[in-house]
């Protein structure tokens, strides 16, 4: 693994452009900036093309003889299938409004990370192959031949885009580079050019139900550990159910939250909340993944993995589905699931059994985000809360890209947050809500071999956190995303030491007074509560 430079060094980003035009500037694969290639086994398990041992840094990528044909045909096919793709290939005026909006450009200064140039990587080939002007004028018209170098360039840069959609907010035509990256990665997948950090979780999820490959007994076991911890903190033993037929609600959350902290604290939060409500719900070990790494490979794979959620809801005979905190997961659920695997007419329009609120906004896809669910509970005074238990925290809020720009859930988590903590500070306006910055590790780029890329990509986000850390003493970064919880932790350790990362429902559970609980002395992390800490200090 390459050595990660010091923060002070990485913060010195040079925006100096190469002397030569981008088409004439060769791409250098820099260690730390890309992930390991996919392993043959991961591709074979799900029937992806061209499984083989390969390494991205090698000259020979072991491509099929007719790889060029495959790609060109793949483009033609997708031009017919996606109006977005066809349109976005044609209408960009290269005004440059999107150029400095990408966190990867801000953090690397690499011109190919300007969203407009990332699109040109593929657009140039489109011109050459699919437009009259490009066929005749070639380079004069911005066209270029598809060569092996071009293909490598695509791979390098489509795995330096986290499909965060920030660029699309600023483009006067709504050109969404995420859409182009999605299609670019689909094309690469036709040749088996995936990364293992995505391909591995995809095959795990296909066979075992979740990205981490947790088998049924491991899921139960992992939850047991959490239940022990909950008992230590609250004195209450919770007994959740799994794969239970006839439950009212199926709960689906990203598997990351069952595996490592701080995600596990969020999962503990769910368990405690549902227990306190006496919710008639079940976990599933088959549909044990809310997230969808398949979406980072191809539309078809996304659909294949997603199918389990409705299938399991149907098998168990639940009324509706409740979804945990996650980012890309909710883009897929909001904008794809019903189209792919619906209509879910065997389910009922979600209705909170506690407040009676009907979630009309989810009346077709039948799935509610847990932040929406909890906001409704709090609004209706259904929870006893003591926000002072979170007084040791000064919290700021990270809007996860896909929840913000692919769903529009901005206020619900803020409402919940303000109800469970006393100290909440927003980051600067241009870095939150629809303009929020990616953690730098989305779309399956949260591996370890590309740590330099992740730290560079997360630079603008970290910068904004640093601002509120220095000016307002913020020490906790809240969010509703499993990838965030995993990746922001590393990002904070690197750029803003002293700021922790947590999910929303960890804070909810800390503040929530449960019936019959013992007097709590610590939070879910086992840290002494502020009141206790104050007493200890006095003593």
């Amino acid at each position: 693994m390459s050595k990660l430079p010091k923060p002070a060094e990485l913060a010195k980003v040079s925006y100096q452009l190469p002397k030569t035009g981008w088409m004439d500037t060769p791409v250098e694969f820099k260690p730390g900036m890309f992930c390991h290639g996919s392993k043959p086994k991961s591709l074979e398990l799900v029937g992806f093309p061209n499984p083989r041992e390969w390494r991205p840094a090698d000259a020979d990528w072991k491509l099929p003889e007719n790889w060029k044909e495959i790609i060109i045909e793949g483009i033609a096919d997708r031009l017919k299938k996606y109006r977005s793709f066809r349109l976005f290939m044609d209408i960009c005026v290269r005004c440059g409004a999107c150029a400095d909006k990408c966190h990867f450009f801000i953090g690397t200064g690499d011109p190919r990370n300007m969203p407009v140039l990332r699109a040109e990587l593929i657009r140039s080939v489109y011109r050459k192959e699919f437009t009259t002007a490009g066929k005749i004028l070639g380079k004069m018209a911005g066209g270029r031949e598809l060569t092996l170098d071009v293909l490598k360039e695509w791979w390098y840069y489509f795995y330096q885009c986290t499909e965060c959609r920030r660029c699309s907010v600023f483009c006067p035509y709504g050109i969404d580079q995420a859409e182009i990256t999605i299609i670019g990665r689909e094309l690469l997948n036709l040749l088996g050019l995936n990364i293992e950090w995505i391909a591995g979780p995809v095959s795990n999820c296909y066979m075992k139900g979740n990205h981490l490959g947790l088998e049924p007994h491991t899921i139960v076991g992992n939850l047991e550990y959490m239940l022990d911890d909950i008992e230590t903190v609250t004195g209450k033993r919770i007994k959740p159910t799994f794969n239970r037929k006839g439950a009212e609600i199926l709960f689906v959350t990203p598997s990351g939250d069952l595996f490592a902290d701080p995600g596990t604290y969020t999962a503990m939060g769910y368990l405690m909340l549902f227990e306190e409500l006496g919710l008639d719900y079940t976990w599933s070990t088959y549909a044990s993944e809310g997230g969808n790494f398949g979406f980072f490979t191809s539309n078809e794979m996304g659909k294949r993995l997603n199918s389990k959620i409705y299938a399991e809801a149907k098998r168990l005979g639940v009324k509706w589905i409740l979804g945990g905190e996650c980012g890309h997961m909710w883009r897929v659920l909001s904008q794809y699931m019903d189209t792919w695997n619906g209509p879910a007419d065997f389910l009922e329009v979600p209705k909170s059994p506690i407040t009676g609120t009907v979630f009309e906004n989810a009346k077709s896809m039948k799935m509610v985000h847990v932040a929406e669910f909890t906001a409704d509970l709090i609004k209706n005074n259904k929870l006893k809360l003591d926000p002072s238990r979170n007084d040791h925290l000064k919290v700021t809020w990270h809007d996860s890209c896909n929840v913000a720009r692919g769903m529009g859930m901005l206020e619900e988590p803020r409402y919940v947050l303000k109800s469970v903590v006393n100290n909440f500070v927003e980051m600067p306006e241009d870095t939150i809500r629809e303009k929020t910055f990616c953690c730098g590790s989305g779309t399956g780029l949260n591996a370890s071999e590309n740590m330099e890329l992740r730290m560079k990509g997360g630079f603008p986000r970290a910068n904004a956190v640093k601002y509120v850390h220095e000016h307002h003493g913020v020490n906790m970064l809240g969010n509703v995303c499993a990838i965030d919880r995993a990746s922001l932790k590393a990002l904070m350790e690197y750029w803003v030491p002293g700021v922790g990362v947590c999910g929303l429902h960890e804070l909810v559970a800390n503040a929530m007074i449960m019936t019959g609980e013992k007097e709590r002395t610590t939070d879910l992390r086992g840290e002494p509560l502020p009141s206790v800490a104050a007493k200890e200090e006095k003593a």
């Binding site: 299938k81 066809r86 005026v93 407009v116 098998r315 189209t339 609120t357 769903m407 901005l410």
Partner: protein
């Protein structure tokens, strides 16, 4: 380099127009009648073909980009335009995009300061120049109707009057002439002056700017300097739209340059990035409502896929499931 090539190309077009306009009657007929007709047909046909082509590809998913709060619980303030739920909201959102360049208005300038602090500053110049350019272009086109309609409509007269409100010179100076040339000049300068924008620019980005500047400049030359015979130009224009084309001898060569450049612009339009005029209406990140959870969006090419069923899963893990106390379908 690409800028220079585009510049030379436009100069060449100017020369061609000039030579054509200075030649004998049959060549002047070619430049005054045949080419404009052809360009117009190409423009309309090409644009329709392009739009049909876009429309022929479906929108398989609702991929709206939300830039505001979704509609959820009744007590949470819904952002009706930035995250529209109804068709009405979408119409307003689109109107703002098209008439006011809403998204471009958000533009920011990202700067990295000493000590590694990133700051975001206002950046409204592109938005302003963009609006100035497009509106003056539209108004100028509209004013040109006075050549094509025998009795000039009141709306056109009014526009004329308002546009010359500065009351300078004779003939009166149109504000839009100044704004158009100024805005195009700005758009060109920023293209070469901002390193990132220069880096992404193609010949196809400079060419329309020079071309439009050329059209504007020849128009201004004719109106204020070389003094073209308006009556004969109107005769030509009226002839064109009534399909009884005539090319009066009294029209100077400068007019032919103007007309030829415009013809080139029309013909070039459907082949180039200028089709953004039609495309902006079709953009699926903007023209869809954010209601995909409430109303199922249908994908016409949705097809069945291989899935790993629960049955297969249970077969793989039955023993482990039983051991962990999980219910199973088959013992």
């Amino acid at each position: 380099m690409t800028a220079i090539i585009s510049f030379i190309a436009v100069l060449l077009l100017v020369a061609i127009g000039y030579v054509g306009g200075s030649a004998g009657p049959s060549v002047r007929f070619l430049f005054g009648v045949v080419i404009p007709y052809a360009a117009f047909i190409f423009f309309v046909g090409g644009l329709i073909a392009r739009i049909m082509k876009w429309a022929s590809s479906p929108v398989p998913f609702n991929i709206v980009t939300t830039t505001g709060q979704q509609k959820t619980l009744p007590w949470i303030k819904h952002s009706k335009i930035e995250s529209p739920y109804s068709a009405f909201g979408v119409v307003i959102r689109m109107a703002l995009e098209i008439l006011a360049f809403r998204s471009l208005f958000r533009n920011l300038k990202t700067q990295l300061h000493e000590g590694g602090r990133v700051a975001y500053g206002e950046a409204k110049w592109l938005w302003m120049a963009g609006l100035a350019f497009h509106y003056s272009f539209a108004i100028i086109l509209f004013r040109h109707l006075r050549f094509f309609i025998e009795k000039v409509p009141v709306a056109v007269q009014m526009t004329d009057m308002l546009d010359s409100f500065l009351q300078i010179g004779a003939p009166l100076l149109y504000a839009t002439d100044v704004v158009l040339l100024g805005a195009v000049t700005y758009l060109f300068i920023r293209r070469v002056a901002i390193p990132q924008v220069r880096y992404i620019s193609l010949a196809a980005d400079y060419f329309p700017l020079f071309l439009i500047f050329g059209i504007g400049a020849t128009g201004v030359l004719m109106r204020y300097f070389t003094k073209t015979d308006i009556i004969s130009v109107k005769m030509l224009a009226m002839g064109l739209i009534s399909f009884k084309p005539v090319v009066p001898d009294t029209i100077g060569a400068m007019f032919f340059v103007h007309l030829f450049l415009l013809s080139v612009l029309f013909a070039y339009f459907p082949l180039s990035k200028l089709v953004h005029m039609g495309g902006v209406f079709l953009s699926p990140t903007r023209n869809l409502p954010n209601n995909s959870r409430a109303v199922r969006h249908v994908n016409p090419w949705n097809y069945p896929v291989h899935v790993h069923t629960y049955e297969e899963y249970e077969n793989d893990f039955r023993d482990k499931m039983k051991e962990a106390g999980l219910p199973v379908e088959k013992e």
